[in-house]
Amino acid sequence: MSEAALPRRDATVPAKAAKPRRARPIGSESRLVQILLIAVSLGFLLLFLLLPLISVFVEAGARGWSAYRAAITEPDAVAAIRLTLLVASIAVPFNVVVGVAAAWAIAKFEFRGKNLLISLIDLPFSVSPVISGLVYVLLFGAQGYLGPFLKANGIEIIFALPGLVLATVFVTFPFVARELIPHMQSLGSTDEEAALTLGASPWRVFFSITLPNVKWSLFYGVLLCNARAMGEFGAVAVVSGRIRGLTNTMPLHVEILYNEYMSAAAFAVASLLAGLTLVTLALKSLLEWRYGDAIAAARHH
């Protein structure tokens, strides 16, 4: 490791001269290098992540508290907030149940096609969100494969709540499973086997052993899944139909407000979304600070 980090010209230096250098402990690079590395990473974070986030809140408050309140209590905005919460409250529990099942299957059992299943779980990460939305239009749209059947039975999927939920589930599916799989794999199944030999029922084993063992990575997965579910724009935009007060989620509402020259209102709603990010971040830090030992212990079980 330290050899690879040496500058190339040192390779030509006689071994005698190189020896004391190799013995230098990690962390004793010149002060200049340290400062440079810290400055670059900190500067990048400030400039590209923190500054835009701050500007959202500054713009949101630009016209004062009453304008801010008006923007987020206006009926279309309230409807958008309710819809976003509703979609997330359906999509996230769904992904938790299916995600836990998938992670359990992958971590605890050996079966044919396991690698295929793992790749499929990752699929939504590599597919553009626009495509994730369009596939549902192709399937359930009036001109789609199932369109005439749905129409005949009076079932609405796209341009209605089910379509929004489907698109959100598709995009956010990997978050829970991806957090759980490595953790469950590292735990192995000895605890469960012990419980089973002691006569516990499979459900008892699941609720008393498996779930508590992975609760922190599960919680972390849920946090990420929820943040993405509420913030998703691309896939949802395709299946929404943009009916104000009905199928307009918060991210879509932000765009609409911005296009209506109501920048302050747009940033007010955006600040709620950004606030969610901060809450997620705070919860995650709190988890790591308060239960850091438990998490670490679980990880190195």
Binding site: L86, P93, L161, P162, S208, P212, I243, E260
Partner: protein, 345 residues
């Protein structure tokens, strides 16, 4: 956290999830007397005012009340696409007849002769295409001929998705045909040079306006007259000037009932009344106030009418043989736009 309490947490979470699932299905199925108007980009402010006036008018005279008129806005072509894909619109109020034709042809949810069912080509208001330039007109743009000068950046949306952009394109084409005496090679050369001056194509008229006004890109915005007036009103009279070219096109944004949808929802009477309301003096006054040219100028405030400059206008039927011909010739796959537009690299 002890194990039993964690278990209880998980269980209550599952119950909550199941509950919200049921609630979601119920909320999705709840029926209301409401209309959905699927419209194009710049009409947001217009229909906000029209809808309030119509609901008051209808509810004063009818026992079956209308609770809400929902709006959906976007590029005209894109909106037509969502209606074809199944968006449950009671009425469509789009930027041009060609887009409603597409709905009629592909979804068969309304008859092909829909445009004959209401007066004035089913267009209760008209508009035209003008130039919005930066204050003082620093590039001295006076007419269409100035648009192909090197170094002039033109902002216009994509004619594939935006109705306004198609009117822009045809207005420029009509000017070129007149200026070059219908010499096809010169007309194509002019349009090619004009498109070469376009740095970015937004999907809708409102996106293009935002690009020009808020992001400060470009020297000139080819815009709906109503959109140009609105931009001046929103951003202050001291930031932009409107330049009226020597010749432009009479844009007729039509409205139509989507028969299959209103019959399925049982809202035909309300939707029909809504469209007819657009022709009443009350609505015509609102139309003029929102910078659209009313069909019946006497109904509007003379001050609003005075805003509209006199322009020499060609019509889509007179100059291009109607949308049925203009759409495939210019904007279909391999049409003149595809031939002449070469994106900058």
């Amino acid at each position: 956290m002890s194990r039993p309490s964690f278990r209880r947490l998980v269980q209550s979470g599952l119950v909550l999830g199941a509950f919200s699932l049921c609630f979601g299905i119920v909320a999705g199925a709840r029926a209301q007397t409401e209309l959905l108007n699927v419209s194009y980009d710049p009409t947001r402010e217009l229909y906000r005012e029209i809808n309030a006036a119509f609901i008051a008018d209808w509810n004063a005279r009818n026992a079956k009340k209308i609770t809400t008129i929902r709006q959906s806005h976007g590029g005209s072509g894109a909106q037509a696409r969502t209606v074809i894909d199944g968006l449950n619109a009671d009425v469509v109020t789009l930027a041009l007849a060609g887009d409603i034709d597409a709905i009629a042809q592909r979804s068969r949810k309304l008859p092909l002769d829909w445009q004959k069912r209401l007066p004035d080509n089913a267009s209760p208001y008209t508009s035209t295409i003008v130039f919005l330039v930066r204050k003082g007109n620093p590039k001295a743009i006076k007419d269409w001929g100035d648009l192909v000068k090197p170094g002039v950046q033109i902002i216009t949306p994509n004619p594939k998705t935006s109705g306004g952009a198609r009117w822009n394109y045809l207005a420029a084409w009509a000017y070129a045909e007149k200026a070059f005496d219908k010499d096809d090679a010169k007309v194509r050369d002019y349009i090619g040079k004009l498109l070469a001056n376009v740095p970015v194509l937004d999907t809708g008229a409102r996106g293009a306006t935002t690009t020009f006004t808020q992001r400060g890109t470009g020297d000139l915005l080819l815009a709906w007259e109503n959109e140009a007036f609105l931009a001046k009103k929103e951003f202050g009279q001291d930031k932009f000037d409107i330049v009226v070219p020597s010749l432009s096109i009479l844009a007729e944004p039509p409205v139509a009932l989507v028969d299959a949808n209103v019959d399925a929802k049982g809202t035909r009477a309300e939707a029909q009344a809504y469209l007819e309301f657009l022709y009443t003096p009350k609505a015509q006054a609102i139309i003029a106030r929102n910078f659209y040219r009313p069909r019946n100028p006497e109904a509007a405030d003379p001050k609003d009418i005075a805003n509209f400059p006199k322009v020499d206008l060609v019509t889509i039927d007179g100059a291009f043989g109607g949308w049925a011909k203009a759409q495939p010739t210019h904007f279909g796959d391999g049409g003149t736009f595809d031939q002449l537009y070469k994106p900058a690299r």
